[in-house]
């Protein structure tokens, strides 16, 4: 009895608290509702587009003929430095003047951008332009499907620069076949091989052309004392910790053997990469490298932030990763030698290449071609006319002079021009608090046409190499698909494959068990994933 009474009392109190709660909850609902409102009205885009279409024409004309008051644009962007350009930086003022806008920046530390992004979505108070780091972020996809963001794919065709957007990247950055933001373009053909050129020369070898050459290079780097110090203290290639979908250099190497990029197409159907014989062949190659000590034996725990260290320290000679890393490696080696007073400033110690050839020709791993989207929420940009002005602004930012402005600042203040190259002033603090970070709002469509920093021959070569690599890239046919099975079980499925292949390489399991793990993958949801992917693939190709 007493117990019952006591519980009754507690229950009453709880109800009281709940009452309080629901009252407050209601208050919040009203508020988040205001965010929701915008989404709701966005829910019937039909009527909106029609009325807006005529507006768009008018708006476009008005833009051209008579001067309008500057449009206020707030932008939420990630910041990488500890300093950030403020709204009254002279560079921002200059951009304001040239683009007829009034910019307000909401800087968010990159390390926590995703949390802030989610909170901002929930708060309903969105800026005019918001940077979306991951187009497949479920919260963004949900918001898009609820009509929170403007579809810009069609409209981009009306603008001189945005219309030059790369169709592959447009597809990669799409949701359900449509584009809900202007992508920030990056080189597609970034991946390749970086190697110690001086070592190769010491050993009298030619740059490798075939997979066998590549293997021989690694072997020579280990066994023939490439640094000539008389000690057996070098090995071939540095690999780092593999996580889930990402497998360090292996993602690139497997393509040489003819394995597909994540998904292959066999008889018009999507097949997961690990079920192809070429993939297995590539894994056998990796195992051989591991067994012969040509790769670092602790690669399963090697921190990716330290990837460059062994090459810089002269312990290893090859990194298979983005080719622009060659320049950073080279710089670091120069710095180290300079400190020892042994630098040779005119020599490049590192060189790069797209890849080596197996039986399937030259094949390179593409990147997605973009680093996030600049999306435009409907709650902050209410009309199509406004949308047109925002897009016109983003279009304008692709003009070479605007790119230079956002990248380097104002000539004579933040940089000088020498032989057609930009040379930054040495005052990093001034740069960081007035310029750096502003390039986060550049879409680079079709590409970076602004001024460049003075290039070393290696950097110039790398840029050409990356452009050349575009014709050899092997796209992932499933890149734009958003799979519900994957969102639920993807992590687990990736782990099965990832764990098995690493255990295989280090010799904890044999080939039989590896194949068994691939079967487990099928049973644990892989079957459903293959089925769903094929449905999406069929629907997209209809």
């Amino acid at each position: 009895m007493r117990k019952a009474k006591r519980w009754a009392a507690i229950l009453t109190a709880l109800l009281l608290v709940l009452g309080l709660l629901s009252a407050c909850g209601g208050g919040q609902a009203g508020n988040s509702g205001s965010g929701g409102d915008a989404g709701g009205s966005g829910g019937n885009p039909e009527s909106r587009t029609e009325s807006g279409a005529s507006n768009a024409g008018n708006g476009g004309d008005a833009n051209a003929s008579e001067p309008e008051p500057p449009m206020e644009i707030s932008i939420m962007l990630p910041i990488f430095k500890t300093n950030y350009p403020s709204d009254d930086s002279p560079v921002v003022q200059e951009i304001n003047k040239r683009a007829n806008v009034k910019l307000h920046f909401e800087w968010v530390p990159n390390s926590s951008y995703t949390d802030k992004f989610n909170i901002t979505l929930a708060s309903g108070k969105l800026p005019t332009i918001i940077y979306v780091p991951d187009v497949k972020n479920p919260n963004f996809v949900n918001a898009v499907r609820a009509g929170a963001f403007w579809e810009v794919g069609e409209k981009m065709k009306n603008y001189p620069y945005l219309s030059l957007a790369n169709p592959v990247i447009m597809q990669n950055s799409s949701i359900d076949g449509k584009n809900y933001g202007v992508y920030r373009g990056r080189a597609l053909g970034r991946n390749g091989i970086n190697y110690r050129k001086d070592w190769l020369e010491n050993l009298g070898l030619e740059p490798p052309k075939t997979i066998d050459d590549f293997y021989n290079m690694l072997k020579a780097f280990k066994e023939q004392d490439p640094d000539g110090n008389g000690k057996d203290d070098t090995y071939g290639m540095v690999l780092v910790k593999w996580t889930g979908q990402w497998a360090s250099g292996f993602d690139i190497i497997k393509l040489w053997f003819g394995a597909p990029n994540k998904w292959g197409v066999v008889d018009g159907k999507l097949v997961p990469e690990h079920e192809t014989p070429e993939y297995l062949e590539a894994l056998r190659f990796m195992k051989k490298l591991y067994d012969e000590g040509l790769i670092n034996q602790d690669f399963a725990v090697f921190d990716s932030a330290k990837w460059n260290d062994p090459v810089v320290n002269g312990q290893a000679g090859v990194i298979v990763d983005v080719t622009d890393n060659a320049a950073r490696l080279d710089d670091a080696i120069h710095r180290m030698l300079a400190e020892q007073g042994k630098d040779q400033p005119d020599v490049h110690f590192v060189d790069n290449m797209i890849g080596v050839v197996g039986d399937h020709g030259l094949r390179a791993l593409p990147t997605s071609g973009f680093a996030g989207l600049l999306a435009i929420p409907k709650s902050s940009v209410k009309t199509e006319e406004e949308l047109d002005r925002v897009l016109a602004f983003l279009d304008k930012m692709n003009e070479p002079e605007m790119q230079t402005l956002a990248n380097f600042g104002i000539e004579g203040v933040h940089y000088t021009v020498e032989d057609g190259y930009a040379v930054r002033i040495s005052d990093t603090v001034k740069l960081e608090s007035e310029v750096e970070g502003l390039n986060q709002m550049l879409p680079f469509i079709p590409e970076d046409q602004g001024l460049k920093v003075k290039q070393t021959p290696l950097r110039i070569k790398t840029e050409e190499l990356q452009k050349e690599a575009e014709q050899y890239v092997v796209p992932n046919p499933a890149e734009p698909f958003i799979s519900t099975v994957y969102s639920q079980k993807g992590q687990q499925l990736d782990n099965i494959i990832n764990d098995a292949r690493i255990k295989y390489i280090v010799g904890q399991i044999g080939e039989e068990e590896l194949l068994k793990a691939f079967e487990t993958w099928r049973r644990s949801g892989g079957d459903d994933l293959v089925k769903e992917m094929n449905e999406l693939y069929a629907a997209a190709n209809r």
Partner: protein
């Protein structure tokens, strides 16, 4: 317990400050009289209570996200309700028992090996009579608490890797073999516990040192006169003085047996030790990346909390059974 007090518990708790004066005017029953007598205590209670209601209980509706497919953009009211779907997915996950086992074993190891460490260290410090030495050591052992886990993990790598790690170099030199500390599943738990002891042991002693500070010096003097040696002094005077603090910490620790500290595990986890290293915290993190963190992680959090509250209640009950004061 005290049945008479609890019958008014709810009213008093929720509306303490108002009840007092009102009761005084009524001037009636002993119950109200007692409330009035304690009016100042209720005044003291009020700010804290208010804090808990506003910042802890008002947002509590967040636990309902576990039953939704919450999307921040839609907000709470427009998100789709999915009932127990997230729990179903979680419990039917073939890895569920692996996660449960790993989380529990790690917590158990923590309880056995880490939990007593600060107590022992505090007792050893208590035996030090040179004040300067004691203070210096106290300050030094407190430092690791502030070293970020990222640094701890990278130094662990530097010491333990098979490729030129200091420990393996020594092993190789003297015994002619190496140990794959970082990838061998058998070494995962010991390394985690050692890292924890190194990092948090010194900081953990502070609370016990505070408890020891209130021990009456006269008691030791009396014991010495009775011929007690140092071991007996520690056993009969020092330990009892911190016993209730130990019990409370132990009970509270029960509340997060399924929390293993995400960052540390995440940094030390790799494909070769996943079978013992993956715990709820890391799993939820990875799921969050692909699935939209909120609803699923709230569901897992809710599960962890339910387990926690059951264990806390049990531990508290047990403590009371053994005559300790417990948390209530």
């Amino acid at each position: 317990m005290k049945p008479t007090a609890t019958s008014t518990a709810a009213a008093a708790g929720a509306d303490a400050t108002v009840a007092g004066p009102a009761a005084a005017r009524m001037g009636g029953s002993t119950k109200w009289g007692r409330l009035w007598k304690n009016r100042w205590l209720y005044v003291l209670l009020a700010p804290g209570l208010l804090y808990f209601l506003i910042f802890k209980y008002v947002p509590m509706w967040g636990v309902l996200l576990a039953f939704q497919n919450f999307s921040p953009y839609h907000g709470f009211w427009k998100s789709e309700w999915v009932g127990f779907e997230h729990f179903r997915v979680f419990f039917t996950n073939p890895e569920f028992f692996m996660l449960l086992r790993n989380s529990l074993i790690l917590s158990f190891y923590n309880l056995i090996f880490f939990f007593p460490a600060p107590i022992i260290l505090a007792l050893l410090l208590n035996e030090v009579r040179i004040a300067l030495f004691k203070r210096t050591i106290q300050t030094l052992v407190y430092v690791p608490h502030f070293i970020s886990m990222v640094i701890v993990a990278s130094l662990t790598y530097v010491f333990l890797t098979t490729e030129g790690g200091i420990v393996n170099e020594l092993l190789d030199h003297y015994f002619g073999f190496k140990i794959s500390f970082l990838t061998d599943p058998a070494w995962f738990r010991p390394i985690i516990i050692l890292q924890t002891i190194w990092k948090e042991c010194g900081f953990g002693t502070i609370i016990f040192l505070a408890a020891l500070a209130s021990v009456d010096v006269e008691q030791y003097e009396a014991a010495i006169i009775d011929g007690a040696n140092r071991w007996q002094q520690m056993w009969h005077i020092t330990l009892p003085a911190i016993r209730s603090t130990i019990v409370i910490l132990l009970i509270l620790r029960m509340g997060d047996v399924l929390d293993n500290g995400f960052e540390q595990i995440y940094l030390m986890l790799n494909p070769l030790n996943r079978e013992v290293a993956e715990v709820f915290d890391t799993y939820v993190y990875f799921m969050g990346i692909t699935q939209g963190a909120f609803s699923y992680s709230t569901a897992v959090g809710l599960f962890k909390s339910v387990v926690g509250i059951i264990l806390v209640t049990l531990a508290n009950w047990t403590a009371k059974k053994f005559g300790q004061s417990g948390i209530y």
